[in-house]
């Protein structure tokens, strides 16, 4: 038996591929339909809420928590004015005012001239 003979045999076998009976095909399709009926429908996308998107845009829950903490800390510093902060504020204020030579600023000086003329 030569290679060419074997190739001929293979070609004949390829041409005579056994065909499934109608019963087999129907059984397979029946099983396919039964399996398909058990598939869960694709989940309907939930209504889009604004808050999650907004929080995500800010950087997530962690960033939001940090921002809230910083805000509260700022408010507390503003109201309570602890001694170290007050000292620092006065020192900076004195230095700024001394350097710039700004003792008082009239924001709307022209009002003074209109007043006496009535």
């Amino acid at each position: 038996m030569q290679d060419t003979d074997l190739e001929g045999l293979f070609a004949t076998a390829r041409a005579q591929r056994p065909m499934p009976s109608a019963g087999l095909a129907e059984r397979i399709i029946g099983q396919a339909d039964a399996v398909q009926a058990g598939f869960k429908p694709a989940p309907i996308p939930a209504r889009r809420r604004r808050w999650p998107g907004w929080i995500a845009a800010m950087g997530g829950n962690g960033v939001l928590a940090g921002l809230a903490t910083a805000t509260l800390a700022g408010l507390w510093l503003g109201f309570a004015q602890p001694a170290p902060v007050l000292t620092l504020t006065r020192t900076l204020s004195d230095a700024f005012v001394a350097d710039a030579g700004l003792v008082a600023i009239e924001l709307i000086p022209s009002l003074d001239t209109f007043g006496p003329e009535g």
């Binding site: 074997l6 001929g8 056994p18 065909m19 499934p20 087999l24 399709i29 396919a32 398909q36 694709a42």
Partner: protein, 193 residues
């Protein structure tokens, strides 16, 4: 989707359609893939009834796996051949060794048509010789030369390297040639050796 409209759709796309609930995709896949799996299983097992059982089981596994199919990772046919191969090998391990004479005769040889008789004799002789090969050699030869898979595809089906596939195919063909060596003239090939 109507079956005719699915004729140009790839196996993979059909499987995705099936998983998404398309009513015609399963029929199209069945008509396309079942003959291939059945032909392979029939030659592996040399038993039509067992081959049909394996085909049905392999297709059932395909349906169950459809929703989890990862597109682009493998060809559907290759995956199916792999499943069918494993099912066939399991059955061969459990069954007793099959003799040459147990290969089924052709069901219908169309009496009076000499050419078809000769072809039927040739296929029967080939099937008997294939049945006498070791399982892995038979698997490789059938996948390569009858089912038409490439060596890398066979390597994926058999979970071995391409070189091992080449070796199995070569040894299988050599075994077939030896088994059929005395039947060249009988099978209608000129100048028997």
């Amino acid at each position: 989707m109507a079956p005719d409209a699915l004729s140009d759709v790839s196996d993979e796309a059909l499987l995705v359609l099936y998983a998404n609930g398309d009513p015609g995709a399963a029929r199209a896949l069945t008509l396309r893939l079942t003959p291939r799996v059945l032909g392979f299983a029939a030659r592996m097992l040399a038993d039509r009834t067992e081959a049909e059982d394996v085909t049905q089981e392999a297709m059932l596994r395909l349906w169950h796996m459809a929703p989890d199919w990862r597109q682009g990772e493998a060809r559907v046919a290759t995956w199916l051949y792999r499943v069918a191969s494993n099912l066939c090998l399991d059955r061969l391990r459990k069954s007793r060794p099959r003799g040459l004479d147990e290969v089924a005769e052709p069901e219908d040889s169309a009496p009076g048509v000499v050419a078809r008789l000769i072809e039927a004799d040739r296929v029967l002789a080939l099937d008997k010789a294939l049945a006498a090969l070791p399982d892995r050699q038979r698997q490789a030869v059938v996948l390569r030369h009858i089912e038409g898979l490439s060596n890398p595809e066979i390597a994926a089906v058999m979970d071995i390297g391409v070189e091992a596939v080449e070796s199995l195919v070569a040894r299988g063909k050599k075994g077939l040639a030896a088994l059929l060596s005395g039947r060249r003239a009988e099978l209608g090939y000129e100048g028997g050796d």
